[in-house]
Subunit: 411 residues, 2 copies
């Protein structure tokens, strides 16, 4: 062994040892990284967990569902499936063939949820750290659209901006498209304001929503115009995602119950003013889209009624638009007897938006509410685009909605 | 109940229901959020996990350590401690009083590592998703420095830049300080290039390293100058962190073993050229610092020797600087008999850097190697700053090193 080679090996050993020592604080003896999830050529997926002492290990994921009857409808839902213990203490589960998509799963070890330790792709959501994987079979399928490819990439930033309406700083995630140069005064970009759902925050669209990957890939394929995407924190009672906001100092004064419509004037005017001052935007109706999922769709529904000249492109993804969720009156009648909605929609459509987009997942529990909205818009002869996509009230549907809406705007 | 109140409650219920439905894909029946970790007024911490079916639950964290003898030295190390099962199926552990710091821990449920499901602050590192918490007693202590406060905040961005040396796009995390305005040509900022360790990537300094919080807080206290901090991916064989780089297309051609010193010319010249073109920098020696932990300290050690006029401020945090880790020769002699190092250091110090900073944790297994470097620098009468901080080869030490180095540069 000549000296240079030996030196390289020694250095390599140092780096590895350093890395192991660094993590030794909480490293476990016997920790082993398995090939999990292993996506097989036939489209099946093998999951593995090393747990020799465990009595019972199950897996629950959205890659495999069973039909559950609720009322007169049937919903495909994830369910717990037993894993099989091998002689070496490894538990294994093999799925059937799964179609292209981004999936989430957890192991359940003696009743406790455990993310897959062999899979570094995981997201904390609603008190579960769940593991993720993406299946793609060919260019253009859902898994391809949600993956990082060797195409020009935009940047994603976590920014703080001042909100005079609340007297605090608020946080937003901002995607700027490939080629965006803040110093180039000659070029301006349209802006999509992309709002999260209830219980979520400014991190979610870029994590579970795969916004940056979807935009990079659509733009590279010529299927979307280069645009800025602003993903605000839309919770009036919170300045930033959990663990990201100040632990002391001034706090938003709005009580939690006033999130949603009443939050709109506290959040969006300041946000739009900031974005138009800090980025090279097209600061007019033709260059602004507002859209959002669930609660964010509710915010979009009402904010665009109050500001019909601000946004030329409007997108409601599984929106929480029904005036009263507890009222058994059919949705279309509920909308119709609500003057705020009827007058608001008239204002919106009198202003002739370039696109009014409404989408809902086929298996969303709120599907009938949105079909009622569709019926109303049809009866009123308002022009709109309607999509009933695959998926329930979940990210699977919202990624489809985002990709479709993004491909139709600013054209 | 009047109508407006009822409407607000109904909307609130929708948002909550929507949130629960959204997560129902993998939600577990019986999932409950506990108060964990609960930081008590006396400085103790209570941890809780609901696991009625588990036979054995332990906790392992760096908030409590026991001394382990290795050779003639003693190291405080984390260890597994049993948790106690209550009648309601909740397991509980109460620590002694813990000093201000950022801590990590996991539960071990029947032998399997589990992050705390009640704690949304968690980080995936080295095949463990571990939970985190910060203890702070007063302004200025370590926990305060690592927390988000109501002070002006910088922005943090994930950017891609083209690397002609490798023919690929590479990723970096960039912190810009409060008030940084890319459109304001009248103001320029110095840049710290902050390099990660072996097995790490461009995500780590801003996650475990708390770089953005440390810089925000130091700048707000007047203890650091406003500066840009660039945290590159420093692995030649990788363009971005796992799950963040392209799944197809061109890949870096450098084999894994050539990471570290041989990676330097592939990474840093292109990075510096990009940063000086894309940001409002002070593109000269007085406005550039290079520093890094472990492998990143190694990269800094060698790159600054080859480019003594590029950086005015140099920081080695627990650096992997020893030429041959397997050689039993005392460190100072190893450095001395290595002409590359002796000539390189002469070039560095002939160029009169404003600061040459060397730090190591008291409990770092490589402490003697760095004491050897200290001895060499003293014998050669090179001016440098030396810190032996608390901590092992771990983030606890590196956060201390970063804060001290950041407070001394660009002055």
């Amino acid at each position: 062994m000549n000296l240079p080679t030996f030196k390289i090996l020694a250095v390599s050993a140092f780096c590895l040892a350093a890395s192991l020592t660094a993590s030794a604080q909480i490293d476990m003896p016997g920790l082993r990284r398995l090939n999990s999830p292993q996506i097989n050529p036939d489209g099946t997926v093998t999951f593995r967990l090393y747990a020799p002492q465990a009595k019972d290990v199950q897996i629950r994921g959205d890659f495999q569902k069973k039909d559950v009857k609720r009322g007169d409808r049937t919903f495909p839902e994830p369910f717990n499936q037993p894993m099989k213990k091998n002689d070496d203490g490894t538990w294994e589960f093999q799925s059937g063939a799964v179609p292209p998509e981004m999936y989430s799963y957890i192991f359940i070890v003696d009743g406790v949820n455990v993310p897959d330790p062999s899979n570094s792709f995981c997201i904390h959501e609603n008190n579960i750290v769940s593991s993720r994987f993406i299946v793609s079979k060919e260019k253009g399928d859902a898994g391809w659209l949600y993956s990082v490819h060797d195409v020009p990439h935009g940047s994603v930033s976590k920014v703080w901006y001042h909100s005079p309406a609340q007297g605090i700083d608020r946080r937003a995630t901002v995607y700027t498209p490939p080629g965006y140069d803040p110093a180039d005064a000659s070029k301006r970009y349209p802006v999509m304001y992309l709002c999260h759902g209830g219980g979520q925050n400014e991190e979610k669209w870029q994590a579970e929503g795969r916004t940056c990957q979807i935009l990079d890939n659509l733009i590279a394929s010529g299927k979307a115009k280069p645009m800025i995407v602003v993903m605000p924190n839309g919770n009036a009672g919170q300045s930033a995602a959990p663990n990201e906001g100040p632990v002391d100092g001034k706090r938003p004064q709005q009580p939690r119950v006033r999130q949603t419509k009443d939050a709109n004037p506290l959040i969006f005017p300041d946000l739009i003013a900031y974005v138009d001052s800090a980025y090279r935007t097209i600061p007019e109706k033709s260059g602004r889209a507002m859209c959002g999922l669930s609660m964010g769709g509710y915010q979009t529904f009402y904010y665009t009624m109050e500001h019909p000249e601000t946004f030329g492109w409007i997108g409601l993804f599984s929106p929480g638009a029904l005036p009263d969720w507890g009222d058994p009156t059919p949705a279309v009648e509920q909308y119709r007897k609500n003057p705020e909605i009827m007058n608001g929609l008239k204002k919106v459509f009198d202003a002739k938006p370039s696109l009014y987009w409404v989408g809902i997942g086929t298996y969303d529990g709120h599907r009938e509410d949105i079909r009622g909205l569709k019926q109303l818009l049809e009866e009123e002869k308002y022009p709109f685009f309607y999509m009933e996509s695959d998926g329930a009230h979940e990210w699977k549907a919202w990624r489809i909605h985002l990709a479709d809406f993004a491909s139709k705007i600013f054209r």
